[in-house]
């Protein structure tokens, strides 16, 4: 059982197509889940009646159920209600709903560090709610909430591999598919492990750089 480099180079284009799909699904879901996070956190912080209870329920439900079951419910269950989505959009919806729940908590954690006194001070100085949010609350909340938001985003990227279970031809799917045809197990697993590691480590590195940059005003 030797390591067949030629096989890997032959399969490289297929792997890259898989990777491209992984990146597309993840990037789209990350953006959407952060939007969900900001909206949900706003509802919780502003204590919108009824809605904030719904958000709490949503967060608890998603965090206490397996992603795989959520995925199957969305892809196989929702058509029963007449909602039929393509593989790609089922994947995006599932990852967005999953990560959105975590992002709500992350954004809320950031917003809650902004003290009540600051809000009162800002309003008594005549700032409008929007300017208070933009100039006072957001800059502080981002610094606190960003690390966990980026962590969730990285988890989302890793969890895009769940989509192989419904047959979306992303990176893991391509690898497993080729393994079941050609039995070049070691080659394929090395390849995708290296690719995933490279992606995750690059993102972690960029995340830590960003945190460092954002905290520049507080360094001495």
């Amino acid at each position: 059982m030797e390591f067949d480099v030629a096989y890997l180079t032959a399969q490289w284009p297929a792997l890259m197509r898989g990777l491209w799909l992984t990146v597309q699904v993840s990037a789209l879901s990350i953006v959407l889940s952060i939007a969900v996070g900001v909206l949900g956190a706003a509802v919780r912080v502003l204590q919108v009646p009824v809605l904030d209870k719904l958000v709490v329920g949503y967060v608890e439900f998603i965090r206490n159920t397996p992603l795989l079951a959520q995925l199957f419910f969305i892809f196989y269950g929702l058509p029963g209600l007449g909602l039929r989505l393509s593989l790609f959009w089922s994947g995006v919806l599932c990852l967005t709903v999953w990560a959105g729940a975590y992002q709500i908590e992350n954004v809320r954690g950031g917003l809650e560090t902004v003290g009540r006194g600051l809000r009162e001070a800002a309003f008594s100085l005549g700032l409008s709610p929007w300017r208070y949010f933009r100039l006072v609350a957001a800059p502080m909340a981002i610094r606190v909430g960003l690390p966990s938001m980026l962590n969730t985003s990285i988890s989302l990227l890793k969890n895009s591999s769940y989509l192989q279970a419904i047959g979306l031809a992303e990176l893991t799917y391509v690898a497993i598919d080729r393994i079941s045809m050609d039995f070049r197990t070691i080659e394929m697993f090395s390849a995708i492990c290296v690719i995933y590691l490279a992606l995750v480590l690059t993102l972690s590195f960029l995340a830590s750089r960003l945190e460092y940059r954002l905290n520049a005003p507080f360094r001495h």
Binding site: P66, A69, F72, Y76, G77, N151, S155, K158, S161
Partner: protein, 238 residues
């Protein structure tokens, strides 16, 4: 509803399998976490680096890839693992990578003067761990460890992908069987029921974890000289 009652024995078997997987994984993950996590707090630089590599490697590779890897690669080395064993290995490795971080953070949360006082009284290193810092670290470790357990229970559903007949797989089989034999698709109802069942199990565990955290915080003797040790950060997401 009728469908669920007819398949009740089958469903209960699935639940038992899920429970078995979760317990087996918890057992191995806990042992690895505590051994490696404690070792990583000792003063051996190289050991710390090794543990760090283990943690980073298995947290950064997607869990699914991890499980498939064990499942497909073990036979190449002459290890015929059953699907159950393969999933247990894959989940334990991943769970312990998260558990090590919890244990390490737990020990770091113990105020430094506890180590120093113990050492000054002439206690040996193992005595310090066993009688002084260990019990204190445990308070910070237990609540996030319960959190990790809920993640493990959820992750056992991945067993379905390599053919373990656990709870989620049972749901899948019922959907397929009904579609083929009876000509209607119960996917919506069955998967909704599956989600609700997992929710009941996991939210009970989550609730228990929160209760434990409050409880341990309340019982902690107040230390005035230094800021009270904070709880270890929750386990990273799956």
């Amino acid at each position: 509803m009728d469908l669920l009652i007819r398949n009740l024995p089958f469903i209960l078997q699935g639940l038992a399998m899920t429970l078995g997987l979760a317990l087996a994984t918890l057992f191995f993950a806990t042992i690895i976490s505590f051994v490696l996590g404690t070792l990583a707090t000792l003063r051996f630089g190289w050991l710390r680096v090794l543990v760090k590599v283990y943690v980073e490697l298995f947290r950064d590779i997607p869990l699914i890839v991890n499980i498939f890897f064990v499942f497909f690669v073990a036979p190449l080395f002459g290890l015929e693992l059953s699907p159950f064993a393969a999933v247990t290995v894959g989940l334990s490795v991943w769970g312990s990578a998260n558990g090590i971080e919890i244990v390490r953070a737990g020990f770091n949360a113990v105020p430094k003067h506890q180590w120093q006082s113990a050492a000054a009284l002439g206690l040996k290193t193992w005595e310090v761990y066993l009688f002084i810092t260990g019990p204190q670290a445990l308070r910070a470790i237990l609540p996030p460890f319960v959190g990790l357990l809920t993640l493990l229970v959820q992750a056992t559903s991945l067993g379905a992908l390599v053919g373990v007949n656990e709870f989620f797989k049972v749901g899948q089989i019922i959907v397929e069987r009904t579609t083929m034999m009876e000509g209607w698709n119960p996917a919506f109802t069955v998967y909704a029921a599956v989600l609700v069942t997992y929710f009941v199990i996991c939210s009970t565990l989550t609730w228990f974890g929160r209760w434990l955290e409050r409880r341990l915080k309340r019982d902690r003797p107040q230390i005035r000289s230094e800021a009270a040790p904070s709880a270890a950060p929750a386990a990273q997401l799956p």
